[in-house]
């Protein structure tokens, strides 16, 4: 067990180191959310405001953009593992006495950690774009962001565990990520859209992540996802994301172990 946590720490440490060494990645990962915030907040925000009378549009959009930033950042876990395989570094890791599952969880932790940092940058920017934040909101938000990011890095790893090329991974990731984003209610409320869209969205773990985060912001004004007549609260949704995340991570560990032996 001690070895497992040691492995997680060593791998996560390298992910951070690697991130900080790559200046273009640092710059892009912090400017991207700002660009999104400006475009979606100011541009589309007006429109969404009209769709949902009574809801402050920036209050609606902001949690969505926050989640999207975390989502995209977390998926980097998969990029990282495919990258390491393609450029040989994975071999150095695999012949070391680190535990296999620890290596994978370390990648998840690293990517999630970086995604959470991006999320925090977004929180710092919030007052400047007119989003009202309180310490209570921040305190509830941080654990939700952590759960969502670990969960989504699990997805990145599951896809990346067996892939051998960057191009292949990017292709699959876009194929998975974009529908997930659009079917999650990041950009527009899903209630009132086509029935099949609404049904599909309920199979999407991101939906619950965003819903929980949005409920923290909007309080009772947020709709909440309804399944089988039960309206999910913050805790329900968080639990859902957590369970899906654990399943994804276990799947990734399994796939990775089989591939590398």
């Amino acid at each position: 067990m001690k070895k497992f946590f040691h492995s997680v720490w060593v791998i996560a440490y390298r992910e951070f180191l690697r991130f900080l060494q790559d200046r273009s990645r640092v710059i892009s990962s912090f400017t991207m959310p700002i660009i999104f915030l400006v475009i979606f907040g100011a541009g589309f925000g007006e429109l969404i405001g009209q769709m949902m009378p009574g809801v402050d549009y920036i209050q609606f959009m902001y949690p969505g953009i926050l989640s999207m930033t975390v989502l995209m950042g977390s998926m980097m876990s998969g990029v990282s593992i495919v990258w390491d395989r393609e450029f040989g570094f994975l071999k150095e890791v695999l012949v070391s006495p680190l535990s296999r599952s620890g290596i994978l969880l370390g990648k998840a932790t690293g990517a999630a950690g970086i995604a959470v940092m991006q999320g925090i940058v977004m929180l710092v920017l919030a007052p400047f774009v007119g989003v009202s934040l309180s310490w209570g909101i921040v305190l509830k938000l941080v654990p939700l962001v952590i759960i969502l990011s670990i969960s989504m890095s699990g997805l990145g790893l599951l896809i990346g565990a067996r892939m051998r090329s960057q191009q292949g991974f990017q292709l699959i990731m876009q194929l998975v990520m974009f529908p997930m984003m659009f079917l999650s209610g990041i950009f527009f409320p899903l209630a009132g859209t086509a029935r099949w869209l609404e049904v599909l969205s309920k199979f999407n773990p991101v939906t619950y992540g965003i819903d929980a985060i949005r409920q923290v912001f909007l309080g009772s004004e947020a709709a909440g996802v309804t399944i089988f007549g039960h309206t999910m609260g913050i805790m329900d949704s968080a639990l859902m994301v957590l369970v899906v995340g654990i399943v994804l991570l276990l799947g990734a560990v399994r796939s990775f172990n089989r591939q590398e032996q």
Binding site: V10, R14, R85, F87, F89, K91, E92, V95, P97, E260
Partner: protein
């Protein structure tokens, strides 16, 4: 004491048997080489010994640890340098080494002097703060050797340690390796398809199509050829081969328009042979046997012809891993 013991190791990939029952032992402080063409099963064997591949059959121990049941102990007690670079190009040399130290749980107290000692030895101490992508191929290989030795392993595995490097760099790397090996009583298990590189070994196993065809010291292998190597070109090579077999009782091999055979005391054999040979000779040569001759005799295949495929092979490897 044996540091590596392999007993009948077999690896099958689907229907293809890449390694067909390989048995050998490597002693402490020995440089043991696997000599063979690309695809002979060298890398597969190394991967099984260093726990990257599970053997289909057979068993092996490294430093007394079973490569199937005690993988972590094996991993912790060996150093590895692969054919292709396994450094993180985005990090500096020092960061790469520190990552390795964390992964192998090397205590800080021993790490700092060890890192300095090794880096100074291979002449990289002054450049330790540079990122790897600024390093040349030879520098990368030196750094990988340093990294492989950082945790004081008893055995160092080298998979084609000087593949793709220029001759000066290759000989420099070998002088480092010999110095390190002598200083730390290290056993080195290496694979190569360079004959001159195999000369550095205490013992060589010649591997062909997944099987070991001979194991011995390089000089012993050469002596076993039975004398000196004569190469001739004649106006009619196929006729010459028959003549050599029937009238001279020799065992000639024909390849690329030249015929080669071994005779004891070559310099005494030649004058009589030249004046008495019935066909017109175009050229004639005599040399002491080299490993190349040994290899040709044992496998019936020139390693040179494989070299043309090497660049393609390298590219494939890059993509494949």
């Amino acid at each position: 004491m044996e540091v590596i013991k392999s007993k009948n190791l077999v690896k099958r990939f689907g229907n293809v048997e890449a390694v067909k029952g390989v048995s050998f032992e490597v002693q402490e402080g020995e440089i043991f080489g696997f000599l063979g063409t690309n695809g002979a099963g060298k890398t597969t064997t190394i991967n099984m010994l260093c726990t990257l591949l599970a053997p289909t059959e057979g068993e092996a121990t490294v430093n007394g640890f079973n490569v199937i049941k005690e993988r972590d102990q094996v991993r912790g007690s060996i150093g590895l340098v692969f054919q292709e670079s396994t450094l993180d190009d985005y990090l500096t040399a020092e960061q790469n080494l520190r990552f390795h130290a964390y992964a192998y749980s090397i205590p800080r107290k021993t790490l700092e002097p060890r890192m300095k000692e090794l880096l100074e030895m291979v002449g990289l101490w002054d450049r330790r703060k540079e990122k790897i992508d600024a390093y040349s191929g030879g520098m990368k290989r030196r750094l990988e050797i340093v990294r492989g030795l950082l945790h004081h392993p008893k055995v160092l595995f080298l998979d084609e340690p000087t593949l793709g490097l220029d001759p000066q760099t290759r000989s420099r790397i070998w002088s480092y390796l010999r110095e390190l090996q002598g200083r730390e009583n290290l056993a080195i298990f290496m694979t190569t398809h360079y004959m001159d590189e195999a000369e550095n070994c205490t013992r060589i196993a010649v591997i062909n199509h997944g099987k070991i065809v001979a194991i011995d010291a390089p000089d012993k292998l050469k002596d076993d050829l039975g004398g000196d190597v004569v190469t001739i070109k004649t106006e009619d090579n196929s006729k010459a081969v028959i003549l050599l077999k029937d009238q001279y009782a020799l065992h000639p091999d024909q390849e690329n328009g030249t015929i080669r055979f071994t005779v004891p005391h070559g310099e005494e054999f030649l004058p009589g042979f030249v004046s008495g040979f019935p066909l017109r000779l175009i050229s004639i040569g005599l040399h002491r046997p080299t490993l190349e001759d040994v290899f040709l005799k044992l496998t019936g295949r020139a390693i040179e012809e494989q070299k043309t495929n090497q660049t393609q092979h390298l590219k494939r490897r890059r993509r494949g891993h």
